[in-house]
């Protein structure tokens, strides 16, 4: 409140005089306009709109006016206060925007700082590659079958028409468990999983069997005594080599891209008849045998200029195998195929040395991430 209202005049109260009000308003507006930051503006707000500000004090005096004068004075004060508040709000928003802008500039960080506090993990390409293959077949309605890696000799050999005199059944090719006559081997292919499937299920059977296999090979850039295979088996009524070709073409295209199909060459496997080697259109030169070099076309390194890559073996399941595994070979026929997962990945990803897959160097594995 202003000082004692000594010269009380119900009509002419000084603070409510039009010029007084306007001057207080203008002073407030000037102060608001002059406030350079939010801190100053805060003080301006207290000084000019607070309880002890001229306009607030003037407002209190309205009650002292005769009723007929109150309206006009009220309007005058209200208008002035409205103008001040409006200016305050406008100035606040301007200053806040300026403040935020400044803060954002000040808080700038170097986004190129490293953020590798925890090193990344990864899954092995053989694992993710096997899953990719499994998914291709599962999408066609197949299932994924698995079995033990230490396996009965009968399931690994005899049931698959590899008789007692088959060359694979020697210490030169197969890991035998001790004693050698106990009929247990480290499986040399994932085919015993096929045998187990036929022995325990009834057709139709469509299974793909990825897994680890063992052969007493030297360990070098292209051979390993421990490697991975995927085999497929389809047993149904009316199955033919055409279905085998269709399946492998689809597999090849899914794995390597449109246009990458397969060809068959006659071959021999005890468990299939007819048997075929399956070649893949070289996905690097796409069968052209040459690729662009710096000085014109050069022989494709991936297929060594053949246009085709040897991929695996396949054929129609030998009825002898069906018989040993309890499948009615008069009613059903089937096809089977098998290829190396490691090898498939080697040429899909251009790997030079098979041993990289088994050395466990994290730099190798991490490059593949968690899916391939």
């Amino acid at each position: 409140m202003s000082g004692p209202n000594t010269d009380y005049d119900p009509v002419e109260v000084t603070p409510l005089k039009s010029e007084e009000v306007e001057s207080a308003r203008d002073a407030a507006l000037a102060a608001i306009a002059d406030a350079a930051d939010l801190e100053t503006l805060k003080q301006v707000r207290i000084d000019h709109t607070g309880d002890r500000s001229p306009l607030a004090l003037a407002n209190r005096e309205i009650g002292a006016l005769p009723p007929q004068a109150r309206k006009e004075a009220g309007q005058r004060i209200g208008k002035a206060r409205g103008a001040v508040n409006q200016a305050l709000a406008a100035r606040t928003s301007v200053l806040e925007a300026e403040h935020e802008e400044r803060m954002l500039v000040e808080e700038t960080v170097d986004v190129t700082l490293p953020t590798d506090r925890t090193p990344p993990g990864a899954r092995h390409p053989i694992t993710t590659g096997s899953e990719l293959i499994a998914d291709i077949f599962v999408a066609m309605g197949w299932e994924v079958a698995e079995g033990p890696v230490i396996e009965a000799e009968w399931l690994n050999f005899d049931a698959l028409n590899l008789g007692p005199d088959h060359p694979a059944r020697t210490m030169q090719d197969t890991f035998w468990t001790d004693p050698q006559d106990n009929g247990i081997v480290l499986r040399t292919h994932t085919s015993p999983v096929q045998a187990r499937t036929m022995l325990t299920r009834t057709p139709p059977i469509y299974v793909v069997c990825p897994g680890r296999v063992f052969r007493t090979d030297e360990y070098d850039a292209t051979h390993s005594p421990v490697f991975h295979q995927v085999e497929g088996l389809a047993i149904d009524e009316g199955i033919s080599m055409a279905h085998l070709k269709g399946t492998l073409d689809h597999f090849a295209t899914s794995m390597f891209g449109e246009g990458i199909t397969t060809r068959f060459r006659p071959s021999y496997f005890p468990f299939t008849e007819p048997s075929a080697e399956v070649d893949l259109v070289c996905f690097v030169c796409r069968g052209a045998t040459v690729v662009d070099g710096t000085d014109g076309p050069v022989t494709c390194r991936t297929c060594r200029g053949e246009g085709w890559i040897e991929w695996g073996g396949c054929g129609v399941v030998n009825p002898r195998v069906l018989r040993a595994c309890g499948v009615d070979s008069e009613r059903y026929s089937g096809f089977a195929f098998g290829m190396g997962i490691d090898r498939t990945l080697m040429f899909r990803h251009g790997l030079e040395d098979l041993r990289d897959l088994f050395e466990g160097d994290v730099r190798f594995t991490t490059a593949f991430g968690t899916e391939i």
Partner: protein, 831 residues
């Protein structure tokens, strides 16, 4: 099988314009897979000429060697017609011999450029070549001495040596043993170019003299092992006669080494017709030849000089002196052809393939003859092959064929195969007419008759591999062409997708990778040394492993029982290569012997019974799927954000807890002592619901770290994934939770140092009752303020009711009850 193209063409009239590549490609499409094409012109450039040695002066050198200073007539090949002076280090030649000279400007295999150069005091203008230098054979027994009729000095030696002739090397599958001969390859070539009118001339088709009683006496005691024995004798043979150039050349091209006329001729005929032939010095034979199985204890020194103990399964050839040969595999030394042999007995016999395979395997003999005999040779060509040998021996060795012709035994005729006429079309998926089916089978040599919807095929004598109807399918399919097989996707019914176990295993891998672990794959072999390094006690079950009969390394004879040794070695390898820290994981099966006896070997003519199968599968060792993790060195990096952190025991448990949470499995953790873990920092983890042992996690024992070369305090996990997967929650029940406000109470409790967090937490939880929403340890304090042997554990208790806002009184009462339980059960005092 290496087949010179000129030799193939001798038996099949291929169009002249057919290139070697085209021939190889078509044969590959028929099943004779191209391995390589050898073309000497690729690696040798001329001038390579025939020379006649005019002078040969041996000159001993200071280094102990003797060189020959030669002059060689190379005709006009050197441009002057003057004799060429050449230094030669070999000694297996004489004046007047025809040799092969490469003159300055020529290049030999290995990019070996020839120039005139000064050596041993002479200017040597070229080189007299050995077979090895020309890349014709691996070894050099001196220089090549050409047959006297090979050519004239100055002639281009490429033609003389057959270097113009390309050689196709095929990979022959076991079912196509007939293609281990030029006869077989040419037969296939005729099939390959049948549309171009190519026809095959059978080199084995020849008139042979009839058997008579005057032949060398032969008795077959084991007609199953040796069904047919043909013997012919050439007398008056000149042992010094040299092998004619074309035979030496072709044998060399086929990858064999010329030795002597008699031996070379037998090899030549084997390559030509496919029938292995053995030649004896007839004068060294005493009494009749008899073929039988060896008796126990018998021995034979074969012509490779090896003294062999024979097996009763071995077929042996004997005469009155005893055993003179391992039938069909290798002859014996005493009756071998030698430099004095003038009378040659030619044996052309049909041997049982299985016996041949077993004998070869038993005695570790791998020979060109054995390779053919063990895969099955055309039994009908015995007489023709013997006659061809006799022809060549008499033509080039100057002898005469004795009139006696021995043919003992007979070969069984091939069994007919009956099959539905449409089987080849149905199984191959190709639209092949009945006529085309029969035509294809006839083309490969079958005699086919048709009866209604069936066909009956009698396979040709050279195809012992054709036995089943499906064998005929392959023949028809390859003649029609595998490239004609259409591509048709089969339409299986709805599949069941991945099994739950398969899906969860993928999830485990992703979870671990997400936690910063890198997957590795190790060889699952282990030795006692690694188990010792782990510090396993002598009676640890992980020391009872499946042993391999033929391990890769005798140091690692077991299939592993734990994934840790492989992971630890890989860890050390990575750290050794500069990684500041690694977190590795591996999933894989380990094995424990079941000791449930031998796995039986059943027959294959029927499915084993369910009982038999159960017995078979039961004999297979137990192979649980394990997961192991090793964390070593830096786990969190130091950086601008602050200090780094090394892996610790808690990281190992963190991994286990994260996996358990991922699969919805509640686990119990309690301390345990198990190698290779630190006895005070090892947790045994069990499935809460069943108590099943999941595995262990914690810090590795300092000795184990040291033994594997990984940093101290490295941590590890090994759990049985089969147990974890079995415990995984099938269907997660929908959770209930309250949206009323949470009430927070923190309590700090003083306890003896040996009270575990789990004990205290259990007590607090039980005491707090149903209003407790969660409890979490947030601080551990030890030190002066709490006194020796004591610790302070601070817990955050969070309370919430499902139906109302809790009052301070309710929350306080629950907290007090929790503390009271801790006081009572754990001797705790509130701070």
């Amino acid at each position: 099988m290496k087949a010179p193209v000129s030799w193939i063409r001798e038996y099949v009239d291929l169009p002249a314009e057919v290139t070697t590549e085209a021939l190889a490609a078509r044969l590959t499409a028929l099943g004779l897979k191209l391995e390589a094409i050898e073309s000497p012109r690729d690696t040798i450039t001329g001038p390579l000429v025939v020379g006649r040695v005019l002078t040969r002066d041996p000159e001993p050198q200071k280094n102990g060697k003797t060189i020959n200073w030669c002059t060689v007539d190379v005709g006009d090949a050197n441009g002057t017609g003057e004799p060429q002076g050449i230094v030669c280090g070999a000694h297996n030649f004489d004046v007047d011999d025809l040799v092969v000279c490469v003159l300055p400007g020529g290049v030999l295999p290995g990019n070996f450029a020839i120039s005139a150069r000064k050596t041993y005091g002479h200017v040597s203008s070229g080189m007299i070549c050995s077979a090895a230098e020309l890349g014709l054979s691996g070894e050099a027994d001196g220089i090549i001495v050409l047959p006297a009729d090979a050519g004239r000095p100055g002639d281009d030696a490429f033609a003389v040596l057959g270097l113009d002739d390309e050689v196709i090397e095929f990979e022959i599958n076991p079912d196509r043993a007939y293609a281990l001969s030029l006869r077989g390859v040419a037969r296939e070539a005729a099939l390959a170019f049948a549309d171009d009118g190519a026809t095959f001339t059978d080199p084995a088709r020849r008139a042979t003299p009839a058997a008579n009683a005057d032949g060398y006496p032969v008795v077959l005691d084991d007609p199953e092992g040796c069904a047919l024995f043909v013997a012919r004798v050439v007398s008056g043979f000149d042992p010094s006669a040299t092998t004619p150039g074309f035979i030496a050349r072709r044998i060399t091209q086929a990858g064999m080494r010329p030795i002597s006329l008699a031996v070379d001729v037998t090899n030549y005929v084997m390559l030509e017709i496919g029938r292995p032939i053995h030649a004896y010095d007839a004068d060294k034979l005493t009494g009749p030849i008899r073929v039988r199985r060896a008796a126990a204890g018998e021995r034979l020194t074969t012509l490779d000089g090896t003294d062999r103990a024979l097996d009763t399964g071995d077929l042996v050839v004997t005469d009155d002196s005893g055993i003179i040969g391992l039938g069909g595999v290798m002859g014996g030394e005493p009756t071998e052809i030698s430099a004095t042999t003038t009378r040659v007995l030619v044996e052309s016999a049909h041997w049982d393939a299985t016996s041949m395979f077993r004998t070869g395997k038993r005695h570790k003999i791998s020979s060109e003859a054995g390779k053919r005999n063990e895969r099955g040779v055309d039994p009908v060509v015995c007489e023709a092959a013997a006659d061809r040998v006799v022809e060549l021996l008499t033509t080039y060795g100057g002898g005469v064929a004795e009139p006696g012709v021995t043919v003992v035994g007979s070969v069984p005729t091939a069994a007919a195969i009956t099959a539905p006429l449409d089987l080849p079309a149905r199984i191959s998926g190709m639209p092949i007419s009945a006529e085309a089916t029969i035509g294809a089978l006839e083309a490969v040599g079958c005699t086919v008759t048709r009866a209604g919807d069936d066909l009956t095929a009698i396979p040709p004598t050279w195809r012992p591999d054709l036995n089943d109807p499906y064998d005929l399918v392959e023949e028809v399919a390859r003649i029609v062409g595998y490239d004609q097989v259409p591509s048709v996707l089969p339409t299986p019914g709805a599949g069941r997708g991945l099994t739950r176990g398969q899906r969860l295993r993928r999830r485990i891998g992703r979870t671990l990778a997400g936690a910063g672990c890198v997957e590795v794959i190790s060889f699952p072999f282990v030795g006692t040394a690694a188990l010792d390094q782990l510090g396993l006690p002598p009676d640890d079950p992980r020391r009872r492993a499946v042993r391999l009969a033929n391990p890769l390394s005798t140091e690692e004879p077991f299939y592993t029982t734990t994934l840790l040794p492989g992971l630890l070695r890989t860890t050390a390898r990575n750290l050794g290569r500069g990684a500041p820290g690694v977190a590795l994981f591996e999933t894989g099966s380990v094995a424990f012997p079941g000791d449930r006896g031998q796995a039986p070997i059943y027959g294959v003519d029927r499915r084993p019974s369910d009982d038999e199968l159960a017995q078979l599968m039961d004999a297979v060792p137990d192979q649980p799927l394990h997961l192991a993790v090793v964390l070593a060195g830096e786990r969190e990096r130091a950086g601008w954000w602050g200090a780094g952190r090394d892996a610790a025991w808690s990281d190992a448990l963190g991994v286990v807890r994260r996996l358990a949470a991922e699969l919805g499995v509640e686990i119990d953790v309690r301390s345990a002592a198990l190698a290779p873990w630190h006895p005070g920092r090892c947790a045994q983890v069990t499935v809460a619901e069943t108590g099943a042992l999941l595995g262990h996690a914690g810090e590795l024992h300092p000795k184990a770290c040291q033994a594997f070369g990984v940093p101290p305090r490295s941590a590890a996990v090994e759990i049985d994934l089969d147990v974890l997967l079995a415990a995984a929650r099938e269907v997660v029940p929908g959770p209930e939770f309250s949206t009323f406000p949470q009430a927070k109470e923190d309590v700090a409790l003083l306890v003896d140092a040996d009270v575990t967090v789990a004990q205290l937490e259990d007590a607090l939880r039980d005491g707090a009752g149903e209003l407790l929403e969660s409890i979490r340890l947030f601080d551990v304090y030890t030190g002066e303020q709490v006194g020796a042997g004591r610790k302070s554990l601070a817990f955050a208790l969070r309370f919430r009711a499902p139906d109302r806002t809790l009052t301070e009184q309710e929350t306080g009462a629950a907290r007090d009850a929790a503390v009271a339980a801790a006081v009572e059960r754990c001797g705790a005092a509130q701070r």
